[in-house]
Assembly symmetry: C2
């Protein structure tokens, strides 16, 4: 492996810079993987990003996805979210369900027919992750997971402050 420059000197700025490049490269790789999948399935970038939010949200036991949540998460206007959900609903991936408690609210639910598509979307990322993981010890992988979690927490905090 020849990953990072200057491994011995504790050069803080350049290490930080190297990290930024690594993270942005990762970001682009993931976006591209997402986009390739989108194109293969006749979907658009926005639709897949919305699906990603809906997927991980239902997996993580988070609060149910609503148009407002999607608006914040995707950085779209309310009209664009409505259009996006119209497309996803028309293509059979999601359904809109009125909340019984607050009848203004719409829950976006993932149709069971679309789970095969989700698995397919997962698979390239899963394959690459698996291969990368195989090169590290369990202890190292725990460290990496802890770092990713910490970074996600910091990034989430950053946007609120």
């Amino acid at each position: 492996m020849q990953p990072t420059p200057s491994p011995d000197s504790a050069d803080q700025p350049s290490d930080l810079f190297a990290y930024a490049v690594l993270l942005r490269t990762l970001n682009r790789e993931l976006n591209r993987s997402t986009l390739d999948f989108a194109h293969e399935n006749g979907l658009h970038a926005t639709d897949i990003h919305a699906l990603s939010v809906i997927m991980d949200s239902s997996a993580g036991g988070d609060a149910p996805v609503t148009p407002t949540r999607l608006r914040e998460e995707l950085g779209l206007t309310s009209g664009a979210v409505t259009a996006c959900l119209d497309r996803l609903e028309r293509s059979g991936h999601v359904s809109r369900v009125r909340d019984s408690a607050d009848r203004r609210v719409v829950h976006v639910v993932y149709n069971s027919e679309a789970r095969a598509l989700a698995r397919e979307y997962f698979s390239p990322l899963a394959r690459a992750t698996e291969t990368a993981r195989a090169k590290f010890t369990p202890a190292e992988l725990t460290t990496v997971a802890a770092f990713l979690h910490a970074l996600n927490t910091e990034l989430a905090a950053e946007r609120q402050g």
Copy 2:
């Protein structure tokens, strides 16, 4: 793909699943950070993603960015790339320079005036990364960097195969 852990069998699948969620969450956080910055500067998502490619490419000593490279990297058609570069050029972020060797080719270069903007774009990510990094030892950080590098390599390989 159920997150249900089975203590007897290997934790491998559920660990992999946890990693996928961590990575996609990171992907969304980075995209949101990017988008927020875009909105604050009157730019669109596509333009910023293009700038990200141009930034890291000039930083990494890679081959110079061309419209074709952007087309592949952003998953756009050639017409859309032309429009995107028109916008970036009009707003003063980049310039088009004809290659002297192959005069069909256009090099997209980052204007020096735009570097301040780039730093500003970096800063939220840098701040969050720095805070996260502070929680780990140098040895751990080296491991994390190695993993990120390995993952990027695998993801890049995935899209070619």
